[in-house]
């Protein structure tokens, strides 16, 4: 791995380069994001600089630097155990809940390091929402209570709870299915509905960033499609980072892709670029092998 490409060792932020002729062949997704890239140089969005992660003595993630521009979808891809989920959990300070974990580097959120000593971690988590691999609605709460759990748990006042409830469920694409049974238990929903309920719950805090950790791995194709539509819609107003094992999904929903790989040691970021480039013209051979399904 010592001869790998520059993203491995640089501590500068990785900004996917975009040239006019590339933009011209991209889909409507990426052309929308071309505007966002112009403000890349400033402090918007989320940016990791030289991030490492450890679990006790196990070095799980090594020197990852990447920038997630505002209002874009970035897919984190790579084989199991390459540190994608660990990296995702570092982005909203969930990593530290694992006993004996440690990290290094900086994660800039709107230009400020979220690991600085004066930053309140719970405040960061209200602004950077997260949806987990396994749907995890609160078992002791109804559907409605689940959606509004965020503001309640974070002690945020809600002006008009009924409106917020409808808005979040509509944005998560679940309103029509559950509007008549908001008082039913969250666990009474199907797996796909539960996952959209979890998305609605994350939206209730009006986060600026939404992190999704393999949100569709337990869902059937129909539910997956609906969650993907939701993601694309949400990306108009928030930055989204999604971990996925599904290459088709990555190509369908993401504007950028980042490929992680571990050669037995810590996971590293191998390559990050526009999704179209990653799939059609990757710079690294390993990326090409992975996206074409030759390993992992």
């Amino acid at each position: 791995m010592s001869d790998s490409i520059s993203t491995d060792s640089t501590t500068e932020s990785f900004v996917p380069s975009i040239t006019p002729n590339v933009a011209s062949v991209t889909t409507e997704h990426t052309s929308r994001n071309a505007e966002n890239l112009e403000v890349n140089g400033t402090t918007t969005g989320l940016e990791a600089r030289g991030v490492h992660a450890w679990f006790d003595k196990h070095h799980a993630l090594e020197d990852v630097s990447i920038h997630f521009p505002q209002n874009t979808v970035t897919g984190l891809i790579g084989p199991s155990g390459c540190g994608k989920s660990t990296f995702l959990r570092l982005l909203n300070r969930m990593h530290e809940f694992i006993p004996k974990s440690a990290m290094a580097g900086e994660v800039l959120f709107n230009g400020e390091d979220m690991y600085a000593s004066h930053v309140n971690a719970t405040d960061i988590r209200t602004r950077i929402g997260m949806v987990f691999q396994k749907p995890n609605p609160f078992p002791a709460m109804t559907i409605g209570e689940n959606v509004l759990a965020g503001p309640k748990l974070a002690k945020k006042k809600v002006e008009n709870p009924d409106d917020l409830l409808e808005e979040c469920l509509t944005r998560a694409g679940l309103w029509k299915e559950v509007k008549d049974r908001l008082k039913a238990q969250g666990s009474s929903l199907s797996g796909g509905q539960q996952q959209r309920l979890c998305i609605a719950r994350a939206l209730a805090l009006k986060p600026e960033v939404l992190l999704l950790d393999e949100p569709c791995s337990a869902l059937d194709p129909g539910s997956t499609l609906r969650v993907e539509e939701t993601i694309v819609q949400l990306s108009q107003s928030m930055t989204i980072v999604i971990v996925t094992h599904n290459m088709q999904q990555a190509s369908r929903v993401s504007d950028y892709c980042a490929f992680f790989l571990s050669d037995g040691g810590p996971g590293r970021l191998i390559e990050a670029d526009l999704t179209t480039n990653m799939f059609s013209n990757p710079k690294d051979e390993r990326t090409a092998n992975y996206v074409q399904g030759r390993f992992g």
Binding site: I124, N136, L153, A154, S187, C198
Partner: protein
Amino acid sequence: MNAIATEVTPVTPRKPWKNTRATLKTATINGFFSAVLATALYTFTGLDGILGWYVSFIISVMVVMAIVSKVTGNGKSIADQVAPVVISAGFATVMIPWISLIGTVVQRGVKGIYTGFFTHDMLVNSMDEPLNVGGISHAIIGTLIIVGIATIIAAPLGIIAALYIVEINGKAARFVRFLTQAMSGVPSIVAGLFIYSTVIITVTHKNNAFAGSLALAILMLPTVARTSEEVLKVVPREIRDASYALGATQVRTTLRVVLPTVRSGLITATILGVARVAGETAPLLLTSQYFVRFTTNMFNSTMASLPTYVFGALRTGTENSLARAWSASLVLIAIVVFLSVIARLLGGRSTGRK
């Protein structure tokens, strides 16, 4: 393969997994030979009485089944055939003393029960008087008060100890767990002696009901703590993660997410604690003792309770007083069962468990 459904031929539903006539026949033959063998064992060995016959029958069934399955050799192994018999026999054996105990208490206890039994105390009556005078109202109220106060003290402490071990998982967690395990082995009379020497001798200088509650609380604490710990461990990490990811602090996660999720489990833990101490006699004899009349004075008076009432009635030792002891035992069992059912109903409601 061009499987396109054209016509549906009528099909009759059947249950191939049910016992066929052949297996029923085998079972009958097994039963017959077992009975023969059991009778032989019963007659020619030292086994005696109902219990002897029961034991010889169980042994015979196992032997016959083992032989039959060896001979016929159809499908199941000997172990598969014999294991269910062993398990069922074990279950039946465990149920025998339990049913016998409840049966005896009911049979002997109903004699002394009349309406006044629940409304009168023993102020003007002795234990030996006819069964249609006097009652145990004072003992029922006393038990409810003493156990109730003990629960109010021990349940929150036990749950807090469990929260410390599971949620906070601090440096002393292992030590606290070790202590609760050690405490659950404390003999009840030691708890009584402890309160007697620390509270009654040094502080109050006379026996009182509150000291009884303290003694019972000591016995209840480890049961509540250990059961609550097991219950809290069952809450998946994903649920806590979901709450943290919404910007909740650990305190709010515990209060608003974890505790409501395991509400029914914590109520069960408390019931187990109550059931553990409701019948304790030794610690109460040293602390709250017995009092013939109804009282709610916790701090300046001894107080009757059902176990000490039973103890007193037994010591009197006459026919009528023994009948009273059985009746009071029946009431004590009924109260524990009743409380369990009530708590179950309260805890089972809207916990979100299917």
